[in-house]
């Protein structure tokens, strides 16, 4: 109970500090801006494409972005064509029929979640190590409590950023799409934001785990970005190797050690894969965090 209390206190303090820090606010605003621009750009580009498509196919232009794409998406020949390109996939089954604007937003938040985790949280521990602020805490709580508290505080911060960005995107849909469509998109956008948050927890654990290893915030950020690159590249490489004949089974397990290995579970709408993928990502994040914390618990501060 005492440990939980300390973790909660540190998380609240960390969250409060992040809110008060201008850098966190700037990142929040930038992320919100990016989400709004992405959504606005998506609606504009999709609208133009659909207008041109309607003209080529000599269909009546509905004037509403997404209607043509949604119809195309639902059409069986198109569906068969997509399946012949990407293969049979339960993910495809689950997302078929969802509004294209919603899916593009989902792609955007999943793309940005790792960067958001590294940029917002990647320096938090190394900054405290460099400034010595950690010393005031370590006479009051254990190193592990402090690390986990930091993780939770930053996780709350990222959740706020993702929900705010989803709200921003929803506002754009209300401005650019008919109100009926926008209303139907509101909850799905929040839903994708929350899924991206779960995905970001693994990256957050990685970013904070790395941050334990160095007193230099710049180095922590650089290492975090390098880790995103390595981990991001590892997944398709392993996929490629797995596809070749005689590939060792260990490669499949190796893929599960990186967040991308469980990312597609969060694109599912069935409860079992969604929950198991979420659990996998949370445990993965905590494992990365604990690896960094294990080094931190043995080092001089």
């Amino acid at each position: 109970m005492r440990a939980l209390w300390h973790i909660g206190q540190t998380a609240l303090g960390e969250w409060g500090g992040a809110i008060r820090s201008r850098r966190a606010l700037v990142l929040l605003v930038l992320y919100l801006g990016a989400a709004v621009l992405c959504m606005n750009g998506t609606i504009s580009v999709l609208g133009k494409m659909e207008t041109e498509l309607a003209a080529v196919l000599q269909l009546p232009d509905t004037g509403e972005t997404g209607v043509v794409s949604a119809s195309l998406w639902k059409s069986k020949p198109f569906n068969r064509m997509v399946r012949s390109v990407v293969g049979e996939s339960p993910v495809l089954d689950d997302i078929t029929g969802r509004h294209p604007v919603e899916l593009i937003y989902a792609w955007f938040v999943f793309l940005c979640a790792p960067l958001l985790a590294v940029l917002v949280a990647g320096t938090r521990i190394s900054e405290d190590l460099r400034s010595g602020a950690v010393r005031y805490m370590l006479v009051r709580e254990t190193r592990l409590e402090w690390s986990v508290g930091k993780y939770l505080g930053q996780a709350i911060m990222i959740a706020v950023a993702l929900v705010v960005s989803a709200m921003g995107a929803a506002v754009v849909t209300f401005c650019r799409l008919p109100s009926g469509t926008a209303t139907s998109l509101f909850l799905p956008l929040i839903n994708w934001g929350l899924r991206a948050w779960i995905y970001s927890l693994a990256w957050l654990g990685l970013a904070l785990g790395i941050s334990h290893l160095t007193r230099s915030p710049g180095r922590a950020t650089s290492l975090g970005i390098v880790a995103i690159g390595i981990f991001g590249a590892l997944s398709p490489v392993v996929d490629f190797l797995c596809a070749s004949k005689g590939a060792p089974g260990v490669l499949t397990h190796l893929r599960m050690l990186v967040p991308a290995g469980a990312e597609m579970s969060l694109w599912r709408f069935s409860a079992v894969p969604l929950l198991s993928g979420s659990f996998h990502l949370v445990i993965l994040g905590l494992t990365y965090l604990m690896a960094g914390a294990a080094v931190f618990c043995r080092r001089d501060v």
Binding site: Q9, G13, G17, R20, G132, V139, E141, T142, D300
Partner: protein, 306 residues
């Protein structure tokens, strides 16, 4: 003062090929204010950081409040430290930071608020309690750092250069505050200002090259109870008269400082009685410009064999 609040035995801490602590053994009496005095790099800060658990010792033992080496699970709220070169969270306020610290130490919200108010009053920061730490001057930040040491009344407080960077008025206020804590908390102060150490401390440890070269009460180190130094206008010619006034005492005339040092033991009398007997004999020969019992701590430190 009964027993020791903090004991370190044969503590070793290596930094590369150097030994920052080279078998440092020290026992800090409970309720004392103990000063650590030594040259730069002697190991004072390293010792404090090791006791607080920030540095891992390579060898030796630490016993903090009878509970072994520092462990936050056991000692949270019982030990506080003013570390060197450590910033507080810049975006938080003094009040908010101290309240959070107090809660982590296990105080209830009401007790934490009370303790924070007292600590901020002690360092005269109540008017800036809700300002961001980033906006405070260097001296004010230092006062917040000192205040956090006294939130929740921890049993052992380690202060590394607590008066550095404070203006004379605030330094005096803090000195009086620390004097007020004597006997209630165990305080260890590291400082290069030996006048401060002499004024504030009941005990002193001289540290050199990672070892304690001497540890005793301030009175014993400065010979405050067995030595009187008289600053005189001229050298007294009639030493026999002085010896007759205080039989058993010895006299040493230090011409450059025009200082007559009278040394005696307990059988001869205490400082007050020796002074009472000796002054008339001195005044009969010359003017007495100043009287001080014992040596200054600085003189005692400089007189240490190196």
């Amino acid at each position: 003062m009964i027993g020791a609040a903090l004991i370190t035995r044969h503590l070793v801490k290596r930094r590369g090929r150097q030994r920052a602590l080279d078998g440092l053994s020290l026992s800090v009496p409970r309720g004392s204010v103990t000063g650590m005095v030594g040259a730069n790099g002697a190991g004072k800060t390293t010792w404090m950081m090791t006791v607080a658990g920030f540095l891992r010792p390579d060898a030796g033992e630490i016993d903090l409040l009878g509970g072994g080496p520092f462990d936050a699970a056991r000692h949270a709220g019982r030990l506080a430290i003013l570390p060197q070169d450590s910033e507080l969270p810049l975006e938080d306020t003094p009040e908010g930071t101290l309240f959070r610290f107090a809660r982590l130490q296990g105080l209830t919200a009401a007790a934490a608020r009370r303790s924070v108010r007292e600590a901020l009053e002690a360092v005269n920061l109540t008017p800036r309690a809700r300002a961001r730490i980033r906006t405070l001057s260097h001296g004010m930040r230092k006062r917040v750092m000192v205040a956090q040491c006294f939130v929740g009344r921890p049993e052992v407080v380690l202060l590394d250069e607590p008066l550095n960077g404070l203006d004379p008025v605030e330094a005096d206020r803090l000195r009086r505050f620390i004097l007020g804590r004597r006997g209630r908390q165990t305080i260890v102060i590291s400082s290069h200002n030996l006048e401060d150490i002499e004024r504030l401390c009941t005990h002193v440890a001289f540290i050199d090259k990672g070892r304690v070269t001497r540890m005793d009460s301030v009175a014993a180190i400065t010979h405050a109870t067995d030595r009187i130094a008289f600053t005189l206008a001229d050298e007294p010619r009639d030493r026999a008269a002085l010896a007759a006034a205080v039989p058993g005492a010895t006299f040493d005339w230090r011409a450059p400082a025009r200082l007559l040092v009278c040394t005696f033991d307990g059988e001869v009398g205490d400082v007050a009685s020796v002074n009472r007997r000796l002054l008339p004999a001195l005044l009969a020969q010359t003017d007495v410009l100043a009287v001080a019992s014992g040596l200054s701590l600085e003189e005692a430190f400089l007189a240490q064999p190196r």
